[in-house]
Symmetry: C2
Subunit: 438 residues, 2 copies
């Protein structure tokens, strides 16, 4: 790919003094009597432009005086290394400045604007270096995962998001007008990634959107989110899934630390830690005892954890093992979907887990029930109609290997990695019950 003649800002400091062309947008202007300073930003960084006012530079000076913040410009000038310049020890003495697109002078958001206002103007909010970094980290994280998968012979699938029926629960389903009938938006690729198992694909992954008509307004839910899914054949138990899962998290965090560690420290004051393997594993019942000993009694009687319980057990794990991750295992069958396999020795618990990262659940994984008669019984127990599940149950009637996998929220991982408290800060364009724009 031929780059245009511009130099990326991040590459300037490695150049020798001399003529350069840089393109980007105007971050700030300091228009002084004897000299003008412009901070120019592009996707890679910021650089100071300087224009001493003389008769020769009067034309450029006039343009700068009229520059609205945010305007996109292309400049040429002389690069000069100068240790006194705070911004990277370099500056560009302007020779020419072309305004490519002038911004209108109003700036609808400011540094202290609330999250809702900033979401209204997300494309301006994303110009902040922290936001730009979030999505470069996302890119690196996903690529590390995919590289791991590809190197381990996984097949990438794209499952349909339009379905004739619910994938799991009818409760949080979006309905679509589909020609003469109705369709539903996929809540997860669960059924379709499982389909790859009787199809003989062995190991599959998908990164794609999932939709939940969840009317709740929390800092960590969205009606549309990016789901990271894997499913593998011939496992012995959910332990095999957990091993895959922890290797992926290690690969992802290692790549992020290597490529962005310093910048994350500078902009978010966060030290990215590459976790050690194996991650701690704690059966849920034991986790509840530990949490109770710390003085917190989970206010649920359905054998599940709650968010505060997750934070407490994560704090315990951090104190005890120095680890940011913990697998909570052995969830009760009563609170797990019908397709989770039950423990052979204790029918009341499942071969499943949740993965908690920095105190918040990011994923659920499990071995799946692949014996169709057992599966039908478990569906009935949950009040589901096997007739309606017909197409799914067929996957198990013509031969299927033992299998399991997990689904994980991409943005949750990013949110927790970068110590953000709101999912909205790490999603390109958030979707919630009252948020469909921009």
């Amino acid at each position: 790919m031929t780059e245009t003649s511009r130099t990326l800002v991040k590459n300037l400091s490695a150049l020798e003094d001399g003529p350069v062309t840089v393109s980007g947008w105007v971050d700030t202007v300091r228009d002084q009597k004897k000299v003008q300073f412009v901070v120019l930003r592009d996707e890679s960084g910021a650089v100071q432009l300087v224009n001493p006012r003389t008769d020769d530079t009067a034309e450029v000076a006039e343009t700068i005086s009229g520059l609205a913040q945010g305007s996109f410009v292309t400049v040429t000038g002389e690069l000069k290394h100068d240790e006194r310049v705070k911004l990277g020890g370099i500056e560009v003495k302007l020779a020419s400045l072309e305004v490519v697109t002038a911004a209108i002078p109003e700036t609808p958001i400011a540094a202290d604007s609330g999250i809702d206002k900033r979401m209204d103007w997300r494309f301006l909010d994303l110009r902040r270096p922290e936001q730009n970094l979030v999505f470069r980290v996302q890119t690196t994280l996903e690529h590390a995962w995919r590289t791991y998968w590809v190197e381990h012979d996984f097949i990438e699938i794209h499952t349909p998001k339009l379905m004739a029926s619910a994938s799991e629960s009818r409760a949080e389903l979006f309905e679509v007008e589909y020609f003469e009938t109705k369709a539903y938006l996929s809540q997860s690729p669960q059924f379709f990634k499982q389909m790859a198992q009787p199809a003989g694909f062995g190991k599959v992954f998908e990164v794609g959107p999932a939709f939940r008509a969840d009317p709740s307004f929390t800092s960590r839910h969205a009606t549309e989110f990016t789901s990271v899914d894997a499913e593998i054949s011939w496992i012995s138990s959910h332990e095999d899934v957990m091993q895959l899962h922890e290797e992926l998290m290690v690969a992802g965090l290692r790549a992020v630390k290597e490529k962005h560690g310093e910048e994350i420290k500078a902009l978010f004051d966060v030290d990215i830690e590459v976790p050690t393997q194996p991650f701690p594993r704690i059966p849920l019942a034991e986790a509840k005892r530990i949490v109770a000993e710390r003085g917190y009694v989970v206010p649920r009687d359905d054998d599940d954890m709650d968010p505060e319980g997750e934070r407490q057990i994560a704090a315990y794990v951090k104190e005890t093992y120095g680890h940011d991750f913990v697998f909570l295992t052995d969830y009760a069958a009563s609170i797990r979907p019908f397709y989770h396999m039950r423990n052979a020795a204790d029918e009341t618990i499942t071969n499943s887990y949740d993965l908690v990262y920095n105190g918040v659940e990011i994923s659920t994984g499990a071995q799946r029930e692949h014996r169709v008669d057992v599966l039908i019984e478990q569906a009935k127990e949950k009040g589901l109609d096997p007739e309606e599940l017909g197409f799914y149950l067929d996957f198990f009637r013509y031969g299927v290997p033992p299998h399991g996998g997990f689904g994980m929220g991409l943005s949750r991982v990013l949110m927790l990695m970068l110590h953000q408290t709101n999912l909205r800060e790490v999603v390109y364009l958030f979707r919630g019950p009252t948020r469909l724009t921009p």
Copy 2:
């Protein structure tokens, strides 16, 4: 990741004779008086199992006699290299055979089943080695593209598929019940990938679903498809986009040829060709003249090509330049969306192109109009209401760099690469006007 103790079939031939464990499904059984043969298949290949009938092997023999095709089994036995065995020159003499899940004996599809029937039983259809290969090729192709993008500092984005309004045309829009209001499914990430430009992201890519409520039944349309999108800042013209595009195609095809070339030749009788650069570029008006000289007059008076015209110009390019690709350029403004930039010297044509591969259009690319006043005029000309486009037009009011990009159908590329005549053969689960299952 710990693999289970099984050996993948593809790895058997490199092993020395000795004990092995293999897992997979039963492809065929030949149950003879003195010896039984089973062809076992897994995600990596097929191997012959042999069981000479003796008193010692009677138990295994009985199991094999009752084996339904498609059952998933785990076997142990002695690997033996034997040149006389047609299937890879190896066989496994059985010691044990465990039926993990028995298939029901009916096989709902056969080798000669029609495409609709095979789609009903897609998970069985996908067991065919050709189908398995399609998705391994897809995996390699996408990973080669993403690796190119990541190495060239692109940012990966996930744009929302739920929108408050149409992205382009109201005509082919799916409507979603969204709490108290309506939402629409994204027809393309067009507006949102453009948003990354004023956001200062520089270069972005996305691979994700797109939805078109197109009621037509052709061999190359679907109501849901995987769209491959890129958008880059600071281009001089659509030529920069075409250069990016051809480098991606070369990177993708090179990776596919290297990893799967021989297998594609064996299963599809197709020689994957890595194209040379630059790809031929032909302005549309010239393409129509060339096609007319070949005796085909495009039966349209709107300056567009038609599918037969695309085949004809592709045939001309193949004969003349020996090339599988051709960029058709300079499409008339009358048949392009309002956001395509017009040619500065001739307002009637756009800075846009279509990419034709093996005779079929796989992509449209263009430089975008980034001057908001011009953009508004062009929208009005197309009968669009600038009010309704408000959120999109805002992207251009606060500064934006010149930019352009393309959108490409993933499955179309695969279909044409593997010389398939129907998109349904290369889509994991096809969605059409009357197809929402499985």
